[in-house]
Symmetry: C2
Subunit: 508 residues, 2 copies
């Protein structure tokens, strides 16, 4: 159960600059590179509890930036935040048949509510007299407890739409876990909306998909393919699952957010009706939608390189690091005096600036550290810059270094941040687009899919074909994409007429 | 286990204005008034899970305002946010002897990680083959898992201080619960800091106490007594527990936030040492500190009245409600055109304005609703106001209504909000101060304490005396207060020389 890591050596923490970035290269082992980077950049680490991670301050700061922006976007659509219980009565899960099938196998179950001292007094054990009448499940998702609550909130058409979101932790007992991508406990938001009509609920599910896509592309600089899932890949209890699929640098897909049209399934399971304008009772229509700390994984794997994280300026906890290069306190004072107005002006523009004048680390170490942490812009100023009225500017995305005039540096940095945001999005998009292949031949597909990429293929719509592709290649149908035309064609596996044109890929 | 509330009738939701405020009066039954108000003002409700509440959107909006301000104040002291696992290995709890005694009796215990279909297929049951090797506890507080993590983060004096906070849910299996004041699950923040010296840790515990007091008084307008707890009332595992104690309108105390000096207890239990400047290992010194959704209870019980909530402007989700009183669309347009610049100007000042021009509710209903919800300032404008260039202003704290000139209304409202913030703090402080009694006679104390109030008494410092007072009167020693002088005196119960001068009160 417990895997407590051995104590790190004192020296580990004060390693040299070159060691700081010593990690597996992407080309050697992409998967190991990711794991190394998560630890090296101090984003997260494994905890003493199987499959649960500790999100370290720097990783959490990225999550806070994501939360702040998403929360704003949700509220702009009329969604309100609320909080529902962590624990769900076991019987609630059974009420929606598909839902329980999807989640029962990976539930953390609370059976007792008290511990007592063991006989020798040195430990505690479960008190058998404190057994719950009905077991409680740590929420894997909250549709059941929320719809049981909505029953009392919804009476007439005037109570609709009802749109709540909660930011919380959820638990799914995953067997194989990886930091951010798949963990037993993770942080997420889950929106749950109730509507009077089918059309309105379907529209809401799509609206939230677009919010997610917008956020991913404009804030995380992660280009996504929007689409709808096949039946097999749907959320347990949904009639339709919409998804945003991002492509990682190894060509694999990462499902980065989903929005579900739940029909009247949960309303029927929890008996939630409303009186329509004709005073007749009708079942309520539902959606749910969520994104999680998995987005941090998407962010890392889309942009970062062998030198460390590359963060889009809009989501970077530190946007500009400024490092004075000085000998002695006198020179530091002089450089600081010159830089202070720039720091103030950048901050007044809402830009997060870290002025790092610590004298217990060498500039080279600081440079490497900010590179590793993905800080978009690094400025450095030394004695020669003072003389020449210049400043050194390094942009993290391209690692280009320039000596530029000190005059106008504020505007320069402001524009550079915009430029970096656009550039890393464009780079990721170019990569993604270059790895989308139209494919009509299964033999060719099987060979090519090993190297990653999104495959735009015709599918006959049967589960058999879907299962065969997965068995042969580990690839799955990611979605019926909205960005590509639904042309007629022939299923490459069965040879039957196609029902859909889909994106197939290996995925995380 | 389950207590699903019966479905409310359709009419409930569209009750008349007078019914809206129909609830128990404080003078009749203070406790019932509180319960009624929590429900009527749509702050929270009981969930289907014993002792766990649903925090409704309006209640959650108050919590979000509190979070935003506290988070800012924490970060200004150098604290960073992070996230640690929900589940704690059972064995961790036993490591600190006092800690386990304090929390073992009210723990939710996870014993299994899977459900399976029951034989008839209609339900799910715990899968006996999915029993955990070691049970996991839902965190009642996170000292143990965090210090087990800190062990790997702290090596030398250069790693200190380490100051993390997390916003999360915790679970304590309380037998008798009340919304916000005492629930099995609640939301809180818990700060955990590590320091090189005893002095630094003690100072940090006090600094955070002052942050809490400052927040309570300046933002919640809740006056508090700062002090230190007696040994009996200390946090399980602490050497000193600092507290802020607020007085409710029934004279009872509400412990509203605590900050603990933990000494080296957790460092010793989890073997957390650092190398000091002489390269010698030493145990780390610790603090922890937390406030919870209980603060919402403090807020309600300090200021609200028989008409509903009274919220301090700085924490109110809606600060100003503006209601046009119109007949027909034409007049509405005219009023809106007149009000729009005011709305814009107020919002530009950072003031949250709700312009309520809904035509499906009468103005009287809206007035009552905003009163119930504690919106600090209500403006109303009708046809006569248009003619006279006036506007009606109602302040929630005093319920005073005024017709004022429309010119300069923005400044008027801005000043009024400040005035309300100050006024409700002063009112609460006057009430509190009028109910602090010096008392040296136990018979008098026993009689008087029934009516509530804080009693400033001399105490001999023994557990026996403390226990006797509690048994005789249900009152407890709240703290050794910092705001009163530690005069010499005689214990009113034992007649022995006093060790401390303390505040004694009944409490929530």
């Amino acid at each position: 159960m417990l895997g407590i890591s051995p104590k790190r050596k004192e020296t580990d923490k004060y390693i040299m600059a070159k060691e700081l970035k010593h990690m597996t290269k992407r080309a050697e082992n992409y998967s190991q590179w990711y794991n190394d980077l998560v630890v090296k950049a101090e984003l997260a680490e494994q905890s003493a509890v199987r499959g649960c991670m500790v999100i370290k301050p720097y990783g959490y700061a990225i999550w806070e930036k994501m939360q702040a922006q998403l929360d704003k976007m949700f509220k702009e659509t009329g969604v309100q935040n609320a909080y529902f219980p962590l624990l769900i009565p076991k019987s609630f899960l059974s009420r929606e048949a598909e839902h329980v099938k999807g989640f029962a196998k990976e539930c953390a179950v609370v059976t007792h509510y008290r511990l007592k001292a063991s006989e020798d007094g040195n430990a505690v054990e479960v008190d058998p007299n404190a057994k719950l009448e009905e077991e409680l499940i740590i929420r894997p998702t909250s549709e059941t407890i929320i719809w049981n609550t909505y029953k009392n909130w919804i009476h007439s058409w005037r109570d609709l739409p009802l749109m709540c979101n909660q930011w919380c932790n959820v638990m799914r007992w995953e067997m194989r876990t990886r930091p951010f991508l798949r963990t037993s406990e993770f942080l997420w938001q889950e929106g749950h909306t109730a509507h009077a009509t089918r059309e309105e609920a379907e529209k809401e599910a799509q609206t939230m998909l677009h919010v997610y896509a917008d956020f991913a592309e404009k804030w995380l600089a992660v280009p996504v393919v929007q689409g709808v899932k096949s039946e097999t890949e749907r959320f347990a209890g949904a009639l339709d699952t919409y998804t945003i699929e991002a492509m990682m640098q190894d060509g694999k897909a990462l499902q980065s957010g989903t929005s579900h049209f739940l029909g009247q399934n949960f309303a029927k399971s929890f008996d939630v009706t409303y009186l329509n304008k004709d005073n007749k009772p009708e079942y309520v229509w539902a959606t749910s939608w969520g994104v999680s700390t998995r987005l941090i994984g998407a962010l890392i794997m889309t942009h970062s390189d062998d030198n460390g994280l590359v963060l889009p300026p809009k989501i970077a906890p530190i946007q500009v690091a400024i490092i004075p290069i000085f000998k002695g306190e006198e020179q530091l004072k002089e450089i600081t005096a010159k830089l202070q107005p720039v720091i103030d002006q950048l901050r007044a523009l809402g830009i997060t600036v870290k002025y790092d004048d610590a004298d217990n680390k060498r500039p080279g170490f600081k440079f490497a550290d900010y590179e590793l942490k993905g800080v978009p812009v690094r400025l450095a100023m030394g004695g020669r810059d003072l003389e020449n009225n210049t400043i050194e500017v390094m942009r993290r995305d391209t690692l280009e270094k320039d000596s530029v005039s000190f005059d106008g540096i504020v505007d320069y940095v402001k524009n550079l941040l915009d430029d970096i945001q656009n550039n890393i999005f464009q780079k990721a998009k170019d990569f993604r687009d270059a790895h989308i292949y139209e494919c009509e031949n299964y033999e060719e597909f099987k060979e090519k899919v090993k190297d990653g990429g999104f495959f735009l293929c015709h599918w006959d719509g049967t589960e058999e074909t879907e299962a065969k592709i997965k068995e042969d290649t580990q690839a799955t149908i990611r979605c019926v994409p909205f960005m590509f035309e639904q042309t007629p064609g022939t299923d490459m596996v069965s040879g039957k007429p196609a029902k859909y044109r889909v994106i197939i890929a290996r995925s995380y």
